[in-house]
């Protein structure tokens, strides 16, 4: 039984990891960022490239991927999203375009492929990020087999969630973010620099996506379109949890991950996936605003 729960827990942690960044950018800022998956992908590629060129291991790649994805997110916010606040459908289309651009940039090696220049770690092929050996060797602890890599993901995800909670609820900046979430005009009237805060918030959410990318690279294939499948799961969790609620995201990730894990072990993964989608549909019918919605705008 504990093993089944562990599988569910690790599925939950991955869902949460992806949804965490999204709960900031979508939940807090109302931006449907279709390029979120590509920020995850950029995080993964940062880890691959850092391994090839700088010899950095997974742990050192984490902050680097946070910064890289954060910078890309910052650029996307400044160049595209800033001009489209309040136009939710336009943002969706624009960020989708950005997603395709980012994918192709990696696939075509930033255009250098046209000139017969090949950069190791880029291009259309599958890439591989090395995982330190001690993270792949399971060990026994009190009769239970501990899988270090999964455990590492769970712990790190919880730490990041705690950090995000702290930033949002215990710092002046977080208070400003929450004020903007409730009512941007009123926040601006109170002297909050809405543009600056929004930019930083978006960059932080993007950085979290980058961290998710590094961790995913440890057990998934790294390839240019790895992000597109990921982003669906992310939106699922955020919508079920309730837009703008960090606790809701946590709860939804936990719930959906456990359902998926239990059914996958007892019957099979394909059925588990179908049940998860069924549960999501029922939950949204029952609570259209998500499990823990708050009144906004």
């Amino acid at each position: 039984m504990s093993e089944i729960l562990f599988i569910g827990l690790s599925l939950s942690s991955i869902l949460l990891l992806i949804a965490l960044g999204l709960s900031i950018t979508y939940g807090a800022m109302g931006v449907i960022n279709m390029a979120h998956g590509e920020l995850v992908m950029i995080g993964a590629y940062t880890a691959v490239m850092a391994g090839i060129y700088l010899g950095l291991n997974l742990f050192l790649a984490l902050p680097l991927a946070f910064l890289t994805a954060g910078m890309v997110g910052l650029l996307i916010e400044r160049l595209v999203i800033r001009r489209l606040y309040g136009r939710i459908i336009d943002t969706l289309l624009a960020t989708w375009g950005v997603a395709i651009l980012l994918q192709q940039a990696i696939r075509l090696e930033f255009g250098l492929a046209f000139f017969d220049i090949h950069i190791d770690g880029l291009g259309p092929g599958l890439q591989n990020m090395a995982v330190p050996a001690f993270l792949t060797q399971p060990f026994d602890l009190g009769g239970m087999t501990i899988q270090p890599y999964r455990t590492f993901i769970i712990v790190l995800t919880l730490l990041l969630t705690a950090l995000t909670w702290f930033l949002m609820y215990r710092t002046p900046l977080g208070m400003q973010v929450r004020a903007i979430m409730r009512n941007p005009q009123m926040a601006a009237a109170c002297g909050i620099d809405v543009r600056r805060v929004s930019m930083l918030t978006f960059a932080y959410g993007s950085g979290l996506a980058g961290v998710a990318g590094v961790l995913l690279a440890g057990f998934k294939t790294v390839q240019p379109d790895m992000g597109s499948s990921v982003v669906v799961d992310g939106f699922l969790v955020v919508v079920v949890g309730g837009v703008g609620s960090l606790f809701g995201t946590l709860a939804a990730a936990g719930l959906l991950g456990q359902i998926n894990g239990i059914i996958a072990v007892l019957s099979n993964d394909i059925l588990a996936r179908a049940v998860v989608f069924g549960v999501v549909i029922l939950l949204i019918l029952w609570k259209p605003r998500g499990l823990f919605s708050m009144r906004t705008r």
Binding site: I4, G125, T136, V265
Partner: protein, 416 residues
Amino acid sequence: MTLDRRKFLKQSSVLGAAAALGPSLYASTARAADEIEVGVLFSLTGGLSIVEKSLADATMMAISEINAAGGVMGKMIKPIMEDGASDPKTYNEKASKLVIRDRVPTVFGSYTSASRKAVLPVFERRKNLYFYPTYYEGFECSKNVVYTGAVPNQQLSNFIPWIINTLGKKKFFIVGSNYIYPREMAKVSKILIEQNGGEWVADEYLELGHSEWGAMVSRIKDSGCDVVLSNVVGDSVVAFYREFKNQGLTHDKLPICATVTSEIEIAAMGAEFAVGSYTSFPYFQAIDTDINGAFIERYRAFVNDGSAVTHHALESSYFQVFLWKQAVEKAGEATPDAIREGVKGQVFDAPNGKVTIDPENLHAYLTPRIAQWGADGQGTIIDEYPDPIQPLPYVAYGETGDDLFCKASGLDTTKL
């Protein structure tokens, strides 16, 4: 795509401008008497482009080598390259374009069975010819396709008995991606397992591209099996092998024996996750012959990547062009019917050894080999047949060498 075409044009002397601008527009006017046009149809974009681009490269390399050596009957081969875009419907459209508008006598193409099935009606209705380089599930008998990859009996008939007798493993857990190839492979495997006195404890599938293997590996662990037979395809392979190791399973106690895991997937997962596991293919990059060494070197130079890997479908993509050349020369003319008659019984010394096209079912005689993966990402060939064996596309339904279902006269449906 642009890159390949450009690179190719540099190396051969075909009509550059016409080809680059859009060959179809010029097809009727620019078709010179001293060239033969052929179609090359692989996915250069989309999810499958990772593998299919390497097949297109190998095809183009063979064409440029033939042209550099004087062409076919003194004529240059002019490839018309189309992009299947990882989408069967696009494959069908592009195949129609090549066959109907460009009127090529042969198309080289396809990686997945889905794309082959999508173009099949075009070639059968128009009585054209398709050269298909990939290992596939069999159960097909077309007069309009020449199959140069392995069929199940060439991957499994040595593999399963070897696992049972040499490895001493008797309880199989069969796992695959959920589509036709893994399911047919499982069918053949079960017959062979039972014939050889083994048993299978489970037969499980996950959707193509699935990357969350936690639950499946945990089931493998609890199933009591002593060997895993994997027909998992594509990037799922990477997630599968990684999860396998992360859950503490090792290939020395519970080996994964795979029919699809090739040099490409090993490189993508990191060799340490596959060390000690096995794969069965007629071709491995590790085949230690001069002809293969030279082939790998030429391929790396052609794609301008010193660490590019070669694999079974890639090698078939390469040698099938030479079989086609020999067929045209034997027939004396480049029409689909003449080429089909000419290709029957053709022999070629490919990097994997001698290949022969079976005159009855148009599949290739290939040499089954088993390799164990090492820490360097390369296989060590630990078992191989002394000679190429006959292709039997209907082996799952009782086909034997003495009782062929698929003959030159067509498929004998009464035997199914």
